[in-house]
């Protein structure tokens, strides 16, 4: 059983990572990040169940809290960038460089 959950978790993580690397739309990239976080949560919970204690579950809660906070800040930034540049592409916001 555990293997199935872990494979699912790995698949979700890979999809998320691919999305982050490939997609240009900031909102999609953002959702992919959320996907990666949730893949991790799944792995935590799986291991928690296999090992038989609650620590993995607790960490999953923490990750959710952080993710929620991150959504608030990240969306605010994306909305602001969109307002000033009329674009939500992550490649357009490349002024901070060498």
């Amino acid at each position: 059983m555990t293997t199935h959950y872990l494979v699912l978790s790995g698949l979700l993580f890979a999809i998320g990572a691919m999305g982050v690397l490939i997609r240009r739309n900031a909102i999609v990239v953002f959702m992919c990040v959320e996907l990666m976080l949730n893949a991790c949560n799944l792995a935590f919970v799986t291991f928690s169940r296999q090992v038989g204690n609650l620590e993995g579950q607790i960490i999953a809660f923490f990750v959710m809290v952080v993710a929620a906070a991150e959504v608030v800040v990240g969306l605010a930034i994306i909305v602001t960038i969109f307002r000033t540049r009329r674009s939500a592409s992550v490649d357009d916001a490349n002024l901070l460089k060498y």
Binding site: D91, N94, L96
Partner: protein
Amino acid sequence: MESQLAEIAQHTGGVIGNAWLMIAFPLVGAFILLVFNRFTNRWGHLLGVAMSLASFVVAVLAFVELLGFGPEERRRAVHLYEFIPGMVDMGLLIDPLSISFALLITGVGSLIHIYSIGYMSHDEHRRRFFSYLNLFVAAMLLLVLADNYVGLFIGWEGVGLASYLLIGFWQFKPSAATAAKKAFVVNRVGDFGLLVGMFVIWTTFGTLTFKGLGEQIAPGTQNGTMLAIGLLLLLGACGKSAQLPLQSWLLDAMEGPTPVSALIHAATMVTAGVYLVVRSGAFFFPEGSGAALAVAIVGAVTLLAGAIIGCAKDDIKKGLAGSTMSQIGYMMLGAGLGPAGYAFAIGHLITHGFFKADMFLGAGSVMHGMNDEVDMRKYGALRKVMPITFVTFFIGYLAIIGFPLLSGYFTKDGIIETAVHHQPILGWLAVLGAGITGFYMSRMIFMTFFGEKRWADDAHPHESPLVMTVPLMILSLGSIFLGGYLILSNRLLDWLTPAVGAPAERPEFHFTSVPGLATLALVAVGAIIAWMKYGRVPVPAVQPRGSFLTTFARRDLYGDALNESLFMRPGQWLTRLAVFFDNRGIDGVVNGLAAGIGGSSGRLRRIQTGFARTYALSILIGAALLTGALLFVGNI
């Protein structure tokens, strides 16, 4: 065999207990004149003279008090304060040797101070001049009065500083500034010898006081360490006393005002080396040791070199400077002969102090009347217009050539006879030197005071004021009588014995000894040759070309050329090499490193593209690598 020196007794109270006043007076004078500077312009010179005289009075009182003790109790140590805890206590040693020097320094020094009032009356910096003179006297007194080598060294350096300031007093003249630097640098070489000598003394004996050394060193001890110390101290003495090979600064030092030359040559500075040798004599220059022989050889060679240089100089002050070198050479020769020679060396030092100050101040008086002309070829026939200067200078002249019954006769003859007795070769060299002295001093007299006028058109020679001639008279009195008083019936010898040790046999002064008569004959020959060349025939107003030997002497025996090619040029090459290495080597490495880092970081920063997804990829790769690495490590 050496005899034991008298014990050094601790002393408090009385004039001797307050002998530090001797140093303090001129030091305070210098301090006041330097600190309150322009406010003291009007009376500064008087303060300087007063401080020097006050010091002289203290010296005389201390001398009288010292006479009150028996000969074996005449070495009094006065503790002043703890200087370097556990190492050196500063104190003064008042004994016959140091008080003799103190009397000479303050006595002749005061006369030179008084003379300078007149000589420097037209100089706008007269006040500064007197402050330096006071500093000079104070430093020299510390040098001779200190009861340890550290105090001696401080005075030694003070003398070097004061001579630097005074030789370069007219520092607006580039030649004076250069001469001052040269004197300082050459003296540093000697100071180095003294300093290293002190290090060796400290590591060997753990004390630097004369008392401590006297307790630790058995009379006549000779070994490698002692020889090394002796030679190092001799190097120091050579620097201060302008002995070969460190003689080159003395002739250039004539750039200073004439009273400075008198002070350097007569009362202070050049006598320091003789003092050092005589003071350390019982420890490091025992009779018959290699170090003592080295001292005597240096003295004999220098006395000849100085005399030869003196023969060819047309500058009256440089001629006198050559004669100083020569006379100090006599003193060193005497000091290298052990206790038998000490009394004569010190005696010659004292009488030389008088007649050389007399002649230098006389030369200053001549220059004062001749618009500061120093070329003797522009003098001539001055005896009529400057009678007092002429008579006093002539007395000094008779004294230095050793005319019978004058001061120089007794002391120089004493050195020569002792030298012939102990070191025959060096002794006969000294006889020869005396003959050359007869020549060059006569030449000076004939060129300056006799013959026809060769004055510059605007020269109006006149006799100097009394403030300048009275010191001359006093000094010439000393030049007449002092030598006989000190040497006949061995007065100076007996007086100095507690401080320097007694000779194996008491010398007796013979008026008709072989070396003495030979000396007189040679001096007469020298004087006659001088008369034939410069008295009988007119002196050309322009320097003739001269033979190879004359050029040799005019160029100071190529001493400067030798120093230049042996030390200065290689030194310059070394600095150039160092600069090259610094520019190309060290700077190259540093600059190259900086340029390398700058260049590579310029390329490295291109990684920062600004694309968020590139960063994301690099984070992913990094995470993957880390994970892989952890797995790999975990599998082992």
